[in-house]
Amino acid sequence: MRLLVVEDEEDLRHGLEQALREEGYAVDAAGDGTDALYKAETWEYDAIVLDIMLPGLDGLEILRRLRKKKTVPVLLLTARDGFADRVRGLDLGADDYLIKPFDLGELIARVRALIRRSAGAPSPVLALGTVSVNTAARTVAVDDKEIELTAREYALLEYLLRRRGAVVSRTELYDHLFAEEDESYSNLLDVHVCNLRKKLGKDFIETRRGHGYVVE
């Protein structure tokens, strides 16, 4: 899952980036409106955390322009108590909002919920065959036995499960699993897929040569 964090206050932005990364998300960050809009329009994010008060373009303007092209879920951050900003934000297409100062745990939970809802799966548990994934606790079990996955393996599994039945291209996987700054070698994805197969069963992930991967 790949996220964009837009926040002009550097210390806050770094904190959010790190916290979300530790939750296993691939995180990009932007410190001003122009950069944020460019990234949001260029990449396929699974959710965007967007501060309203920004230099350059403000958050609401970014939202207005972005909504013409993309349906990515957006969580607004606002430092104002007044409801006017929030009402405008929600009307412009924001999916949720948080008022600063917020609780980090709540922010992460809301991001999780946004991703879940946008994938059309309101339940936090994804299950396929003997494999079940609890996206809230970030745990994976095979035959009710919990198994250990690395953050990247978990992200790959969750993404494939959310797109179950569809063939997911390698480009799409790279887009959603790696942030801009992450070093990604062309065979890194193969390594993760290989490891997942070892842990979940050889046939859990099928390869469609020339197209990508699919779980069914």
Binding site: E9, D11, D32, D81
Partner: protein, 465 residues
């Protein structure tokens, strides 16, 4: 509550005054009328007596035997006429001789005690005897004639008159009271409107104003003054709301930073370096909050008039070089070039606060411009003013931002990128400090060419504002 109502009190006073006035007027009228009627009766009695006296009281000496008493009508036709006239009239007469013997009387005359004797010289006597009013006329010899009439009809008339007057008085009084009630209500209506409007404003409808019908009337003027006051209060209230919102907004960001960092650090075991990083970030945020809180306190003191200046004779040259020393490290760090041309100018003021103004302006110039900017500080003595001038050749300030530059929480660059942005309070505080010194602060700027801040202060003696 009724006795507290102005309308009721006015009505009460009005009623009491009106009643007294009417009672006085009607009583006077009644008494006048009564005395007029009595006078008419007296006049008639007098003229009758004047006619009758010569007839019954012969001239001095022996009685006039040629003249028969009027009760012998046969002898004198005129007497007969008199007699018949008296028979029908309500008047009666009694005549007596000097020996106080009744010599004649009209047929209808009641038993009348002969008045007198009177002292010499008295010729006339008027008396009210029961229901009768009588007038006696005397000759010098003490013979005389008494003419009388019953006052019963007059008394009845007067009673009727009194009744009518009281009725008319009551009608007039009720009209007066009703009119007074209406007039008082009409006059007090604007007060009702004023208090209703004030109620609404107190209830939260701050944009309500008193409708003014007659701006020149006393209440119209009062309403105008109140409306102006309401305007000012509304503006002050809005400013207060905006100020609170801005202040809380400014505080939220550092609080968010601290909360996020601390919560993040606590999610798992971290290395010492990571904890140090977290603590350093929290320190920065706390530092920012401290600056903000200090600024807010300064503003609160300014607003409440408790902004204490320690006035002393100070040299602006010292203030300026102190400020330069303070910003030198920041200038070095940001690659700004500081120049100065300073002459000694004595002013009476608070050196610390004036230094704060200069540091604020210099810091702004350093932080809002790119590296390599040249900033020059000039301290100059004018005719009767000292001038502090801070100019730079930096990015300049957009024209539309200049009028709001000294407003609280106004920032030209809305971002806090690069840590350059404070809360937007520095210039507001600087302006307050300068104005507390009876000075002025102005700014001129050309986009892309640079900005000039000019502070002027009175030289030497300084009076607190």
């Amino acid at each position: 509550m009724l006795h507290k109502s102005i309308r009721w009190r006015i009505q009460l006073w009005h009623g009491v005054l009106l009643s007294c006035l009417m009672a006085g007027m009607l009583t006077t009228f009644f008494l006048y009328e009564r005395s007029e009627r009595l006078r008419t009766i007296d006049d008639q009695l007098t003229s009758l007596a004047t006619v009758l006296l010569p007839r019954f009281a012969p001239p001095r000496g022996e009685p006039d035997l040629d003249r028969p008493p009027p009760d012998e009508p046969d002898r004198h036709p005129e007497n007969r006429a008199d007699s018949s006239e008296f028979a029908k009239s309500p008047y009666y007469y009694v005549a007596w001789s000097p020996r106080r013997e009744i010599v004649a009387k009209s047929p209808a005359a009641p038993a009348v005690p002969i008045p007198g004797p009177v002292s010499r010289g008295t010729t006339r006597l008027i008396r009210a005897r029961g229901d009768f009013r009588e007038l006696a006329m005397f000759t010098p010899e003490q013979s005389g004639v008494l003419v009388g009439v019953s006052t019963a009809p007059l008394t009845a008339q007067l009673h009727r008159l009194a009744g009518e007057l009281i009725a008319a008085g009551l009608v007039l009084l009720s009209f007066g009271l009703a009119g007074g009630w209406f007039v008082a209500g009409h006059a007090l209506r604007p007060i009702g409107e004023i208090s209703a409007t004030a109620d609404q404003i107190a209830g939260g409808e701050r944009s309500k104003r008193i409708p003014i019908e007659e701006a020149d009337s006393e209440l119209g003027r009062l309403a105008t003054v109140l409306n102006r006051t309401f305007d000012r209060l509304e503006k002050a209230f809005e400013q207060q709301v905006r100020f609170t919102a801005d202040a809380s907004h400014e505080l939220r960001t550092p609080v968010s930073v601290i909360l996020t960092q601390v919560q993040l650090a606590l999610t798992r075991e971290r290395s010492g370096a990571e904890y140090r990083e977290t603590i350093a970030i929290c320190q920065r945020a706390a530092e920012r909050m401290r600056v903000l809180v200090n600024s807010l306190l300064d503003l609160a003191r300014i607003d409440s008039g408790e902004f204490d200046l320690t006035l002393e004779d100070c040299d602006l040259a010292k203030v300026a070089s102190g400020a330069l020393d303070m910003v030198a490290p920041l200038a070095h760090q940001k690659g700004a070039c500081l120049r100065s041309s300073i002459e000694s100018v004595p002013v009476r003021g608070d050196a610390l606060k004036l230094g704060q103004v200069l540091v604020n302006i210099l810091q702004n110039a350093i932080q809002h411009n790119a590296a390599g900017v040249e900033i020059s500080l000039t301290v100059q003595r004018g005719q009767d003013k000292a001038f502090l001038r801070v100019s730079d050749n930096g990015v300049g300030i957009p024209g539309e931002a200049l009028p709001q530059l000294f407003e609280r929480f106004y920032r030209v660059d809305k971002s806090r990128a690069g840590g350059a942005g404070g809360a937007g309070l520095g210039l507001a505080i600087s302006k307050a400090i300068v104005e507390a010194h009876s000075g002025a602060i102005t700014v001129e700027s050309t986009l892309g060419a640079g900005t000039v801040f000019l502070v002027s202060l009175p030289i030497g003696s300084f009076t607190s504002s």
